[in-house]
């Protein structure tokens, strides 16, 4: 009898322990009546316990969403559809966050002041900026599809952002961190297209950087004939790997401070003016990328500190310029394959050029324009 009592108690404890796995699921949109339901995403993210998962049914949600606790917001696959869309309200968007650079941003999905500290995970949802209206002049104000503000961390995976198109201020995904503990944010396997200014932005204004970003496996298509930078990082540590980046003005940019080494590897970059631009970033590596149909494959700027970036094992084809050194020394360029370009190396510095052995074919003029 006593043994049975112990067993039933154990069973009750096991049930209690396993209950939260079910209780922590909530739902928006009415497609899964077995779960606790909320009429809007905003109400759900405010109301659920920290750490919950909120399933969002297919449909269009005209909302501006602010998330301030750790949770997972996940698109549901129901009735042959799996596209929940967070769309801009016809009444316009409110400015809801000021970035570390002072820009006032109207974010369609904002992650900010997360209490208790923890990860916010977004997955399987489309954030559509069509017809978005921002109350302040733009720029300097801005529109962002998804914005992770200072002090937040988490993952943006299998999301779509599209049509953040206000002139010169539309951002697809924007993550940042200022002063405070270091944060890690992963942006992976997303489709980011038709943003007018930047597809994916990750930035920190601290030295050493307080943000580690992993930007991986995304497909970013810049707005054709526009000034779009597809992936831009500034002052962070991190990796930009395995992305497909096409269209716009600049493919992948590392700007910011010298002490912000970034790995740019295995990306495919095409149909763009500047493939990879490195303004700063000593110790950064640019390896095993492919660039095609690009005006300038690599552009360098910044202070030229040693050690500078290393460019190795990349392949470029059908370019006008392979590398514009901009007279910056200490850039190591070796073991690359450069084929089919009008010019090879522009403004290569007279000393410490770092130019090693590369495979060069079908280049009209290998070196052009000297530096003072």
């Amino acid at each position: 009898m006593y043994k049975h009592w112990i067993l039933s108690l154990l069973t009750a404890v096991m049930i209690a322990a396993s209950t939260p796995a079910h209780a922590k699921q909530y739902e928006v949109g009415g497609c899964n009546p077995t779960l606790p339901q909320f009429p809007t995403i905003q109400l759900a993210v405010l109301s659920v316990p920290p750490g919950s998962t909120i399933l969002v049914c297919p449909g269009t949600y005209f909302e501006q969403v602010m998330i301030s606790q750790p949770l997972t917001l996940k698109g549901a696959d129901v009735n042959n559809q799996d596209r929940p869309i967070i769309a801009a309200s016809p009444n316009g968007l409110a400015i809801n966050v000021t970035s570390i650079t002072g820009t006032q941003v109207a974010a369609q999905v904002l992650v900010e002041n997360v209490t208790p500290p923890g990860n916010v995970i977004l997955t399987g949802i489309t954030v559509d900026g069509s017809l978005a209206e921002v109350p302040l002049s733009c720029p300097p104000a801005a529109l962002a599809g998804i914005f992770y503000a200072s002090g937040t961390s988490g993952t943006i995976r299998d999301m779509t952002t599209r049509y953040q198109q206000l002139p010169s201020c539309g951002y697809g995904i924007w993550v940042e961190n200022g002063a405070g503990p270091n944060q890690s944010i992963t942006v992976e396997n997303n489709s980011v297209h038709d943003a007018s200014w930047v597809g994916i932005l990750a930035q920190s204004n601290q030295t050493p950087p307080t943000l580690t970003a992993t930007i991986k496996g995304n497909f970013v298509n810049g707005l054709v004939y526009n000034q779009t930078s597809d992936i831009t990082v500034s002052g962070i540590r991190g990796t930009i790997t395995g992305n497909v980046v096409t269209g716009g003005l600049v493919g992948i940019t590392n700007a910011g401070t010298d002490a912000s080494p970034v790995t740019i590897s295995g990306n495919d970059v095409a149909d763009i003016s500047i493939g990879v631009g490195m303004s700063f970033g000593d110790g950064s590596t640019v390896t095993s990328n492919k660039e095609s149909n690009v005006y300038t494959a690599f552009l360098f700027g910044g202070s030229g500190v040693s050690p500078g970036p290393t460019v190795a094992g990349n392949t470029t084809q059908n370019t006008t310029y392979v590398i514009n050194y901009n007279c910056i020394p200490n850039v190591t360029v070796k073991s690359n394959t450069f084929n089919d370009s009008e010019f090879g190396f522009l403004e290569i510095p007279p000393a410490n050029s770092g130019l090693g052995v590369n495979t060069i074919d079908n280049i009209d003029t290998v070196q052009t324009s000297s530096c003072p």
Binding site: G75, H193, F219, Q317, N318, T359, N362
Partner: protein, 393 residues
């Protein structure tokens, strides 16, 4: 003494044996001179004037020639004086410059800028580091090819650049980059790798065999096809890489048709494979590790039963993968109108085969013609409609 004599003869014999190692270098263009060089003024004179198996170095410069290669050799562009571009051009861009010099097993007379044909003795013809520019070659609407490997030939094309094979204003598009084919002949092997093919209006790289089993094994690897357009009256289709009845591995290529290039209908193809005119089935392709983007049309299309499409990345295209029946694994498709289209007229739909581990994100329609049981082996996100398959359970 006799021992000294023996040593002497041995030394002479060694000199004779090693002499070929100090053979002359064959060169075109005049950038390399001296006793160890034999110079030719044209590529055509060189390819017919050197011994079989030679390597011909081509200096940077412009060579307005139509070249026919009929013996095994290597033609290689070199770097000299700050340039590494040796470019073969149309003789006279303003006139009717080319002669039809080969009849294709598939497409009739072809005007090839560089033709590899009737190679005797049998052996490989390798073309490395050369640019072939077709500017002006479209006058009179010929079927134009930058490099053409005719039936019975083999070899490797590496690090070349093909450009401006265009037929503007013609009714049908017929500007082609690299063309390899084999008819009723011994099996041949042709590799096209690491090459840049751009600004053409028909096919960037193609492999054709009309035999069953296929007599052509092609490896098409690491090439970049870009900026292909349709400038013809008919708005015919244009494709980056095409396989007709050959057995081909098409891998790690990077294919884009250029930003803003949106013809009136979705008639651009990244990789397309279909049976030959005899409808021989069984000559299959494996398309793996390719990236296809920015193309108003179809990224990878397989009309051949038994093809494999694996680990490709397809983005910003009208449709990702269009397949009749194939192994379709681990591909990622984003930003499309249609993700994966299967042959819904097949009574069983695509209920057989391996169709798993694929990702489709951000598509108006994720799967067409694929049974639900197959869809569940794949990952879908942010698609307006997951499945459209009226005939499929």
């Amino acid at each position: 003494m006799s021992r000294h004599l023996a040593w002497f003869f041995l030394a002479v014999a060694m000199l004779v044996v090693s002499a070929p190692l100090q053979a002359v270098t064959y060169e075109v263009g005049g950038c390399k001179t001296g006793a160890s060089y034999v110079n030719f003024t044209t590529i055509s004179a060189a390819v017919s004037g050197v011994p079989a198996g030679s390597t011909i170095q081509v200096c940077p410069g412009v060579y307005p020639e139509q070249v026919t290669i009929s013996q095994p050799l290597t033609l290689k562009g070199i770097t000299f004086n700050n340039s590494s571009r040796s470019v073969i051009t149309i003789n006279n861009p303003t006139g009717a410059p080319l002669a039809p010099n080969v009849t294709s097993i598939e497409a009739g007379p072809v005007y090839a800028q560089v033709l590899v044909q009737n190679v005797i003795p049998l052996g490989s013809v390798n073309i490395i580091g050369i640019t072939v520019d077709g500017t002006g070659g479209g006058a009179g609407c010929p079927t134009l090819a930058g490099i053409f490997y005719a039936s019975g030939t083999s070899g490797t094309v590496n690090e070349v650049a093909m450009r401006h094979q265009l037929t503007p204003g013609c009714f049908f598009a017929s500007g082609n980059g690299i063309w390899a084919e084999n008819g009723a002949s011994l099996n041949q092997t042709i590799t096209v790798e690491n090459s840049s093919v751009h600004d053409f209006d028909s096919t960037g790289i193609q492999a054709i065999s009309e035999q069953f089993p296929s007599t052509l094994t092609a490896t098409i690897k690491g090439n970049f096809a870009s900026n292909f357009v349709d400038v013809t009256v008919q708005h015919d289709r244009a494709q980056g890489i095409q396989n007709i009845g050959a057995t081909s591995a098409i891998m790690d290529n990077f294919i884009t048709s250029g930003s803003g290039n949106t013809p009136s209908t979705a008639n651009l193809f990244g990789v397309i494979s279909y049976p030959d005119a005899n409808d021989d089935v069984g000559n299959v392709i494996t398309a793996s590790g390719n990236t296809v983007a920015d193309l108003y049309g179809y990224a990878i299309t397989s009309q051949q039963f038994g093809d494999t499409a694996k680990s490709n990345k397809l983005s910003n295209v009208y449709a990702g993968l269009v397949v009749f029946f194939a192994v379709v694994e681990s591909n990622t498709v984003m930003n499309t109108s249609q993700g994966y289209v299967f042959n819904a007229s097949n009574p069983q739909c695509a209920s057989e085969g391996t169709i798993s581990g694929n990702v489709v994100n951000d598509s108006s329609l994720a799967f067409f013609g694929l049974p639900l049981v197959q869809i569940q082996k794949n990952q879908v996100d942010s698609d307006d409609v997951v499945q459209m398959s009226p005939q499929c359970p």
